[in-house]
Amino acid sequence: MNRQYIIRRLLIAIPSLLGISVILFGILAMAPGDPFEELATNPAIPPEVRMALRAKFGLDDPVWQRYLHWFAAMMQGDWGFSFQSRIDVDKLILQRLPVTLIVVGASQILAISVAIPVGVLAAVRPYSIFDQIASTFAMIGFSLPTFFTGLVLILVFSIQLDWLPFVYRADINATGWAFYAEHIKQSIMPVVVLGLAQAGTLVRFMRSSVLDVIRLDYVTTARSKGIGERKVIVRHVVRNALIPVVTLIALQLPAVFGGAIVTEQIFRVPGIGSLLIAAILANDTPVVMGVTFVFACLVVLFNLIADILYGWLDPRISFR
């Protein structure tokens, strides 16, 4: 693994982060309406004060100057102040971020551990009954919108069977094992909803990737050396087939975070997704911008990780 490759990837990530910040700021700047509208409707604040505030915050400056100010502030960790919660946006986001990362991470682990065996088994015997059933279910999984799966799971497991709670609670008053048990119990449905949607896509990726690799000559060589079929698949085929899948998993992440927003909203998980929706419904612009920027950073970060992993898994890439 050469260092040059990692540095090059890092240097590519920076302009894309800058570009994203330009796009986000551009959307905000183009948007009609005034950030001080809240003050305009407030009778206690005279118009002169509002104008002075406008001048102070540089709202009458040219766009590029406002962008530079905004960007400099974001870089220094000054993300603004939430109108609604009355605390700093970065603190608010940091409070909520771990929950989202845990839910998304757990659902990815679930999706990967379901999808890889199923995809490999389907590809080893293409067009068999198992393959057809797996492909059909993968298609169903990837056509089911997360909000509908979530509601159906609530209907079955919370309302009909009464096994699982459908509201995620952060304030569980239990200690020790009971605390963790409750947490796991209430996380099952959000994680499953998000994981299954992801697994459908991954099964299709994995299947086609294994199908590509399994025809290669080195697999035939391995077989002709008398290595058992099981070992050929696990040690020789799957390892190489996983390489493109790693990239595809990272490229899917924008969609996963989108799914997380919906899932958090349905199950009322206190993550940044539900924070985004709540902020939108409460017209809390600093929080909306902050959360969107965090999502963008996460996507760029995971793309970077995937690129570096890809170079590590497939050394041919990093020497190009």
Partner: protein, 320 residues
């Protein structure tokens, strides 16, 4: 299609009387690419089923309101939250409004958004992809950087951000329903063109070096003519496949937005907003959520299967 497999075409016609065989051969020679694709598409049972289901759904939402002329906002508190009955085949909601009528109305919106957003995405994608594919150097590099940048945007958060910032002013300019429609279509299209652009560019890079394009160039065809007459028609197959999948994705995005309360205003029934309203009544009126959810799922699944069938039909390497 370039390089489609006539082997399977002749394999279809067994030995026949010479005259018939000659007629068959004449017919076979004049077979158009579209007809050939259709012939291959027909072999894909699930895709044909999907096409039939989609056709029924489209007919239902287009013709249905004439056969079931119940107003979508006919409030009847005496019949609220009722399950399916003869008077209300799909039951009623919390205001006693007829769900069948609202489903048909919402279906029109969902399908229209899906197709319109797909057209926007395809237009932008084909334009960017063909410009990048025909020009080399910095134009190509810049357009591809832009494409990668948009690919790194977190789709749903950005979609929510734009809807949040622009919804009210669009409502003023275009009216409640029209404003939301145009905004949703444009934004979904603007966030979905990137795969199309990459695909078109890749196709162009290989096609523009092919002999038939060189021949056209040698005959003095202008660049526009080379693209429109020779390259684009040959690059269209995969683009149609991606376009099909895009319809499904746009329908899911629209329902997600409406489900989160940021799509169409809540008095306009779409499948997503019906689910949003229904989710608080899951325990007493499950049908209210299940019908629109199932409609979204069925539509998306049908379209995805059609896309799968088209992919196989357009793949010249595959003998069907």
């Amino acid at each position: 299609m370039a390089g489609s497999t006539p082997a399977s075409l002749s394999a279809e016609a067994p030995v026949q009387a010479p005259a018939v065989a000659a007629a068959q051969a004449r017919k076979a020679r004049s077979i158009s690419p579209a007809l050939e694709t259709w012939r291959r598409f027909r072999r894909h049972v699930l895709a044909v089923t999907g096409a039939v289901v989609l056709l029924i759904l489209v007919l239902a939402v287009l013709v249905g309101p004439y056969l079931w002329p119940v107003a979508i906002n006919d409030i009847d508190f005496a019949a609220k939250l009722q399950g399916p009955s003869l008077a209300h085949p799909l039951g009623t909601d919390d205001l006693g409004q007829d769900l069948l009528a609202r489903m048909m109305y919402g279906g029109r919106i969902s399908l229209a958004v899906g197709f319109a957003a797909m057209l926007v995405a395809l237009t932008v994608g084909v334009l960017v992809g063909s410009v990048a594919g025909m020009s080399s150097g910095w134009v190509d590099a810049f357009l591809m950087w832009l494409t990668d940048l948009f690919l790194a945007l977190p789709t749903l958060p950005v979609l929510l951000l734009v809807m949040y910032l622009f919804r009210d002013s669009m409502k003023k300019v275009m009216g409640v329903e029209g404003g939301a429609f145009i905004l949703i279509v444009v934004v979904i299209g603007a966030l979905r063109w990137m795969p199309v652009a990459r695909l078109v560019r890749a196709q162009f890079l290989s096609l523009r070096e092919k002999e038939f394009v060189e021949a056209a160039r040698a005959l003095g065809a202008s660049k526009v003519r080379q693209v429109v007459q020779h390259i684009l028609p040959n690059a269209l197959g995969p683009v149609i496949v991606v376009g099909t999948i895009d319809v499904a994705a746009a329908i899911i995005f629209e329902s997600t937005l409406s489900f989160l309360g940021l799509g169409f205003p809540s008095d306009v029934p779409t499948w997503g907003s019906m689910l949003r309203d229904a989710k608080d009544y899951l325990d007493i009126a499950a049908h209210w959520a299940l019908f629109p959810g199932a409609a979204i799922f069925l539509t998306v699944l049908a379209i995805n299967f059609i896309g799968d069938g088209l992919r196989d039909a357009f793949d010249p390497r595959r003998v069907l």
